[in-house]
């Protein structure tokens, strides 16, 4: 055992630029740039399973592909077994490719419809010129057995298999070169719950037998709990919380993690009585991420300025008003009930509404900003290490309770 993690990423960033042709460049036009993965650092120890969770479009899959060297990072490095993959020689690269594998979400579309199951499983062996035909044939049979499929499947084509069987074939193919690290990109999301459970327990068994290391990418938190040792939560390209499974699930440190956990409907009799305090809005566009903490536009625990006395519900309402004005949307003023607010709050809102009525949106916005601007909007939070890795201002500020942020 060496002392460095099997795979380690630091400061990993991936930007995609959209819609720029050579002609556009000659004319000096710039396309819109999306930062899909932003300064992600994550290391995975041997034999460990790390769950990477987040909503669709948050950059989970891109991170997985960067770790495997399937995409070039715009900045940052990935080290495999202590050696940066960007510095690999051709032979090392080849070895790295054999040591790593990936299983995709869509069981049907990730298998070539014109190849038989045996050809699919043997393909990595053929590409890497491993074994004779006879040996490959035997290896395919072994692998089929390993993923609990019978040898009669070998001459069949993907369309003859069920979704679960296709996913087993995809796993067998990933195992063909005896890798040590496998990225599982939503491997059970397309499957029915009973088949999902079968594939999850197969993955757990294989990990025990073959000492595999997994990065388990999923949007479904309930499948994470059965397989992962650690969880990394991603939001708009950034890791917001990384920690051991039990701690992240039992005592989530980031408001986004709590909201995600709370949103999952539980299969239980008393579920109807549990009221979900759900997140408002959808994931903002990554081409124009919010300032400061990226989650502030949806955060239920946004921190009001220190000298302002305001309850969270009113503060949230003011916040919504501000973003409506900013986006130039129609504003529903009658929703406001400020009877319980302090004089400062009432005055600010009244002045802003007065400015709005004269049609001066900028003035209204400036007035509201002066009183209500939050640290969450202005400053991007640093990563704190207590209780575990988490990027949120709530953990920077020990006096949080005095600011009504709970």
């Amino acid at each position: 055992m060496s002392d460095h993690p099997l795979i380690g990423a630091s400061g990993l960033t991936k930007r995609f630029t959209d819609g720029v042709s050579i002609l556009d460049r000659l004319r000096g036009r710039e396309g819109s740039t999306i930062t899909a993965v932003d300064d992600v650092s994550l290391s995975i120890e041997r034999g460990e399973t790390v769950g990477l969770v987040g909503e669709s479009g948050c950059g989970k899959s891109t991170t997985g592909q960067l770790l495997l060297g399937l995409q070039e990072p715009s900045a940052g490095t990935v080290a495999f077994d202590g050696r940066p993959i960007a510095a690999q020689t051709a032979a090392e690269r080849r070895r790295f490719r054999q040591e790593t594998a990936i299983v995709f979400q869509e069981p049907f579309s990730s298998l070539d419809p014109r190849m038989t199951v045996e050809e699919i499983i043997c393909e990595p062996l053929v590409v890497n010129e491993i074994g004779t035909e006879r040996e490959r044939h035997n290896r395919a049979r072994d692998l089929l057995e390993r993923v609990e499929l019978s040898a009669v499947m070998a001459p069949r084509y993907p369309h003859e298999l069920s979704g679960g069987q296709c996913q087993r074939v995809a796993i067998a193919r990933a195992l063909a070169l005896e890798p040590s690290f496998i990225v599982l990109d939503e491997p059970v999301s397309a499957l029915d719950v009973s088949v999902q459970a079968q594939i999850l327990s197969l993955l757990a068994e294989l990990q025990d037998e073959l000492e595999l290391t997994y990065l388990f990418i999923t949007h479904d938190l309930s499948v994470v709990s059965s397989l992962c040792d650690r969880v990394a939560v991603m939001y708009l390209g950034e890791l917001v919380e990384v920690g051991p499974l039990e701690r992240v699930f039992d005592a989530p440190a980031h408001p986004y993690t709590s909201a995600l956990l709370e949103s999952v409907p539980r299969a239980r009799a008393n579920e109807r009585d549990r009221s979900i305090d759900h997140l408002a809005g959808a994931l903002p566009s990554p081409s124009d991420p919010p300032s400061g903490c990226r989650f502030h536009t949806r955060c239920p625990k946004i921190i009001p300025p220190a000298d302002l006395e305001i309850d969270q519900a009113t503060y949230r309402a003011v916040f919504r008003l501000r973003s409506q004005i900013e986006r130039g949307e129609s504003v529903a003023l009658d929703e406001f009930d400020c009877s319980d607010c302090t004089a400062t709050v009432q005055q600010a809102i009244e002045e802003a509404i007065a400015a709005l009525e004269t049609g001066d949106r900028t003035k209204a916005l400036d007035r509201l900003d002066a009183t209500f601007e939050s640290v969450c909007e202005t400053t991007s939070p640093d990563e704190h290490t207590t209780p575990h890795r988490v990027s949120c201002h709530l953990h920077a500020d020990a006096d949080c309770r005095d600011h009504n942020c709970e």
């Binding site: 909503e55 679960g164 459970a197 999850l200 059965s226 109807r272 408002a280 959808a282």
Partner: protein, 391 residues
Amino acid sequence: MTDLLRVRDLTARFDTEDGRVHAVESVSFTVEDGESFGLVGESGSGKSATALSIAGLLPAAGTITGGSLWFRAPELAATTGKHEVDGEFVDLTTLPASARRSLRGTEIAMVFQDPMSSFDPSATVGTQIAKAVEVQQRASARPRSTRARTEGYGLGSLLRDSLLPTRSFVSESSRERAIELLERVGIPDPAKRAEQHPNEFSGGMLQRAMIAQAIAGEPRLLLADEPTTALDVTIQAQILSLLKEIQAETALSVVMITHDLGVVAHHSDRVGVMYAGELVERAPIDRLFDAPVHPYTQGLLGAVPDLDTTVTPPASLSGRMIGLHADELPEGCYFADRCPKAMTDCQEHPEERPVDETERHTARCVLTDRAFDPDDALGGGTAQQMERDHQ
């Protein structure tokens, strides 16, 4: 509470190149006013086919071959015709196509899984919802005017359509109503959004718009076919609470079709579990989760990973569902080959029987009135299952 819909022994078949598929097999349940009935099962278990049968939207290959769909519609029941009437209820399966159509949207509406493919990409969202409003208004004014164009569209219809352009015209009031509906389902800046095309909407927003379209006709029954499956959990929570809100406001009954037991637990009052086209267990929500009788229900509940407690992989149902072609169906219980509690009696097809005296909890299983006897066991489903897998 009064019943709104009584499904009795509904049976539907699909004719395919490979033969007849027994998609829905003698399914019975009732939906009461304002309640939410969950229909759960794995893909191919017949959930959607059941919903499409109720809506009268089965594809051409599918037909309802038996059973009845009693829907409470006093006005229709009062008129005479070929349709079967039972008090205030009419049997939807015997209604002529035109009367069936007049119920669609105005009495029975449907929300589908994939909002992106359910909207017309070439028309604005506002127009599409306004059309639903228009259809409802015309239907209540003149039931015959909802004539489908595919049916009997001849020279007369062509002339009428070209001479009376109002037929395809969406009135200003419908457009305003569409904006109101968009606002009702929580879409910010609805007036601007109504002018946008579906591709400018996110998945969650579009699902809200589809709900707006579905409630445009103020229906009494909403069939929601996997309405949140394509969405992220945070958005799913929003949509589910929106549905609950609308239900509380309008006394709408919902049939929630999903493969996710969590969604059912969160949303439904009563649940039916489907397997291989049959309703294998039907119970109030707490009974289903606390005291499931059918081994399939037990297996399904066991397979759901629990977010709050377990760290070990969940117990799983082995194997997979039998094929539903006529020649693949066994004589006995359809679940016997996977059932850990299969006994000799299971070689005969079980009837649906009540589990308790209230008859609100029923199961299609011999275990309803006898305990599992290991000495009488068929040797577990695994052996037969393996055999089929290996074929």
